[in-house]
């Protein structure tokens, strides 16, 4: 083997580090053989940047697929179902509250998204307030494609939304136009990608369920958001430093926290499940607080509970969650020990 070839082989071997170990063990040598054959046919002794970029990209994609493959198809479908519901609910809510509702249009406003440093001249997106409307519309069209069973169109729309979402705040900064901040757009991007890890509606009955859950979540979420905005003097919906209870940041953070909680339970193996389920229950107070602001506290105060109970109700959840987790884990161990004894 010449020095040039061994150097080239070392370069390819390093790039192959992007692939999972198991894949490298099974096919790494074979792929390096093909890479060396191609280089020989082109009389090269060095790797091309395109070749290395392609190897690393495919290696990382293989890693991602392997990770997803370790999560069963049904669980992936569950993840995709949750992400589709949340992405659609956010697209509906953000379009109506941030982009299109009569309350955010110049001249007819009760609440306006214009804050300090922004004027209505900066809202140059036709009937919409910001270019983020394109992302929301792509997500809504992706939902329609899901219900219609148009998988290829669904994939294209969700991928476009996932790529475009983080670019909107950046382009807004460059062009000096009003745009949502990066965090809500990153959350939307992640939800759009998660919606693609499985098929949220593989059967007609699941499609009905998806439509019903999404419609329910969107209407309830929208009603809650609008009811909490009533009486506000001014709304700057996309302000990063906004102190108001409902804006793009709080709504997307709440949805992302719910997605994280559901995802954690769905990807858990049998051994970790009691603990992740316990953590999910412990996260309920946080989720309620994120979703409803202080509405839950006001309700509890209305129930005339003792002051200590009303102020520290989340601790009850924590204790309950840990007790359930310990009980479930203990029962499982006991069942396993009994099973071993009877064998």
């Amino acid at each position: 083997m010449s020095g040039g070839t061994s150097k080239l082989e070392a370069t390819y071997t390093r790039a192959l580090g992007a692939y999972p170990r198991r894949w490298r063990r099974e096919q790494g040598e074979e792929l390096i053989g093909v890479l060396l054959s191609v280089a020989r046919s082109e009389q090269r002794t060095t790797a091309t940047p395109a070749e290395l970029f392609n190897l690393v990209g495919n290696g990382l994609a293989t890693r991602g697929l392997e990770l997803l493959g370790s999560v069963g198809r049904k669980r992936r479908n569950g993840l995709a179902f949750t992400a589709t519901v949340l992405a659609t609910y956010l697209a509906v809510t953000l379009t109506l509250l941030g982009e299109w509702g009569p309350w955010v249009r110049p001249g007819t406003l009760r609440w306006r998204p214009t804050g300090e440093g922004f004027s209505e001249e900066l809202m140059a997106m036709g009937p919409f307030t910001t270019a983020a409307a394109a992302v929301y519309l792509a997500l809504l069209a992706g939902f329609a494609a899901t219900l219609a069973g148009r998988h290829s169109l669904r994939r294209t729309l969700y991928l476009s939304a996932a790529v475009a979402a983080p670019l909107i705040p950046l382009s807004g900064q460059v062009a000096g136009l009003l745009a949502p901040s990066l965090v809500p757009m990153l959350a939307l991007s992640a939800l759009a990608l998660l919606a693609l890890v499985g098929n949220p509606a593989p059967t007609a009955s699941r499609r009905m369920l998806l439509a019903a859950v999404t419609a329910g979540a969107s209407l309830a979420g929208l009603a809650l958001a609008v009811s909490r905005l009533t009486g506000g003097a001014a709304l700057f919906f996309y302000d990063v430093s906004s102190g108001i209870a409902v804006d793009a940041r709080t709504l997307t953070t709440a949805a992302a926290a719910l997605m994280l909680t559901v995802g954690m339970v769905l990807v858990s193996g049998p051994r970790a499940l009691p603990w992740t389920a316990g953590l999910a229950v412990a996260a309920v107070p946080l989720l309620i607080r994120l979703w409803s602001g202080n509405t839950a506290e006001l309700l509890l105060a209305g129930l005339r509970l003792p002051l200590t109970a009303a102020a520290h109700w989340e601790w009850a959840f924590l204790v309950l969650a840990l007790a359930v987790a310990a009980l479930a884990s203990g029962t499982r161990r006991l069942a396993r020990a009994r099973g071993l004894r009877t064998v």
């Binding site: 093909v34 191609v38 070749e51 392609n54 495919n58 290696g59």
Partner: protein, 107 residues
Amino acid sequence: MREPTFLVLSALADGPKHGYALIAETKDLSDGRVKLQPGTLYGVLDRLREDGLVEISGEDVVDGRARRYYRITDGGAATLAREADRLAANARQAMSKLRLRAAQAGA
């Protein structure tokens, strides 16, 4: 079906081939338009094997390195035939429209 997948299945339709031969054959089949990177080829082969459209048919050793041969399965051949029919029907429609356009321009 994406073009690289279609070309790989087409290249395997007349017999088993190894990785490097597949790169050369897909380039020939596309008149030099598609030059698959090895990383892309193995991504396509992974997906096709997972879907049961392609399988490993044998292995030999060249220059001290294992070289696998891949062959199309019956399911893979049926999928390729369906895709080829679809593309042919699309091409027929397009040609018919173009002929109509040419006739209208000539009239």
